[in-house]
């Protein structure tokens, strides 16, 4: 490694340490004031709020620039979320559906019904465990059995239901009357009709988009643009909502600024 590289790494480590030291000093001072003033109480809830505030600020610090605080918070989040997922899965699935269920069956008088119930627990569990054969390269091929079952079963379940829900059910409102003697023109139905036809033509590439086909495809582009705009608008609203909740948390639950 060259001298320049070593110097750069040393400087980076020094600046990382400085960022951590300044950040934690500020957090400790603010929390000490909040605890001293009685706004926060020392306990599970109080510590939760203090840690939540520290992690929120660490994550939002990325908006200024990438920094070690952000990375630390990110890694904490991934670790905690994974650990939590494992615990929930253990208690609500493995313990309940496999271990306890099998234990209860062993206590029951043996019959053919009990036998088949045992098979219904053991067989899927073994198939699931085959995924871990990937750890040993020699037996890794066995994991394909599990994946093929998952893919085959998943496709068989999804395809008919998706066709029903997304195509057949969705096609119905696209085929309603555009004009009725009682109500006159059905404007919503007309917009849906134009939107569906023009967007489908835009994605029809077997004909060159010229003349009438080109003009209809252009209308399709407009419908797509409106749809993207609506999605973007909703996305912005969602992101602001998350920020609003965090600002409320920081300046209400942590620092009592908002009433």
């Amino acid at each position: 490694m060259s001298n320049i590289d070593t110097t750069t790494i040393a400087t980076s480590k020094k600046s990382d340490f400085l960022v951590f030291a300044i950040f934690f000093s500020i957090i400790i001072i603010v929390n000490a004031i909040l605890l001293g003033s009685g706004h926060l109480k020392w306990g599970l809830e109080g510590v939760g709020i203090m840690m939540g505030a520290a992690f929120t600020i660490s994550l939002y610090s990325f908006l200024y620039k990438d920094n070690p605080l952000f990375k630390m918070a990110e890694h904490f989040y991934v670790g905690v979320a994974t650990a939590y997922l494992i615990i929930v899965t253990w208690y609500s699935v493995i313990l309940t559906d496999v271990i306890y269920a099998f234990r209860d069956l062993t206590k029951a008088p043996f019959s053919s019904s009990v036998f088949w119930q045992m098979v219904a627990i053991i067989l899927p569990t073994l198939i699931g465990l085959l995924v871990y054969t990937r750890i040993i390269p020699r037996f890794a091929w066995m994991s394909k059995i599990t994946f093929s079952i998952i893919i085959g079963f998943g496709s068989g379940l999804a395809i008919p239901n998706l066709i029903n829900a997304y195509i057949l059910e969705q096609a119905k409102p696209s085929m309603t009357a555009l004009w009725t003697s009682a109500g006159g023109f059905e404007w919503n139905a007309i917009i849906v009709f134009i939107g569906v036809i023009s967007t489908l033509i835009y994605f029809f590439f077997s004909l060159e988009h010229k003349g009438a086909v080109g003009a209809t495809a252009k209308v399709g582009i407009w419908f797509l643009m409106v749809s993207f705009g609506a999605s973007f608008g909703f996305t912005v609203m969602a992101r602001f909502s998350l920020l609003i909740e965090r600002v409320n948390f920081l300046f209400h639950d942590w620092i009592p600024l908002i009433k």
Partner: protein, 286 residues
Amino acid sequence: MGMQMKFDLKKLFNLDRRIIYLLIFLSILIPFLVEFDLPIKANKDVKNIFNKIEDVAKNKGHQGSILLSFDFDNASKAELEPMARSLLAHAFKNNLRVIAMGHWPNGVELAKSILNDLAREFKKEYGEDWVYLGYRPGVSILIINMGKDFKSAFQTDAFGKNTKELAATKNIKTINDIDYVISLSAGSGGIEDWVVYGRSKYHFELGGACTAVMAADFYPFLQSGQLNGLIGGLAGAAQYETLLGRPAEAVSGMRPQSIAHIVLIFFILFGNFCYLIDRFYLSKRS
């Protein structure tokens, strides 16, 4: 003069994004500190969910039940928790039985704490007035199973109690015995799965509550009647709180939301204005 103006516009084009972040942050913080009222009017889709719960209460009384599927976790708490609280308050206020569950393992504790809070507030008894079934894996299989045999899908609740012995669930044979199903959804394993594997197969009444990001995707389901109503994002939650006459976090969040939107619209217009002016000077120069 032209060259000078173009130079200034270049500086504006290169506006540090952190200035925009700061202004957005202030546009959210300041409306929290300065209180003012904004009119909030519920739209048809939010009203449909509200009216459906009212109808169930009117026709079935305490025998009426709704199923709330908590298909979200802490990451979407900001938008979906206010909806969950309002829906629960509405059901409990009307003396309906609430059956809660979730497709998201990471949302189990969050759902439990919301349910406990509201049950305590409305003095509801566990087992009699509400039941929490917790998380079960499978999503699609689970929904299909609920439509065939509810008790085999959920033999026990989240606390290990037998669902055959709980007053709120003992008479439920299939999902069709539940008067209304609402999915509070933040992504995959939510409304979409309820529509595809539940509503389309068993034809029960389904409502949706979702994050704003997803709302646009669900409008086709409203058009086709696969969803009877939709509460979308914090704005939807605020509309529901208004209908219920119980303004809370979502209503107070509308002030910063509205101001932040105005700031963003200003920046979009400003960016476009700078772009057009720059193009105008470029074409003049060439």
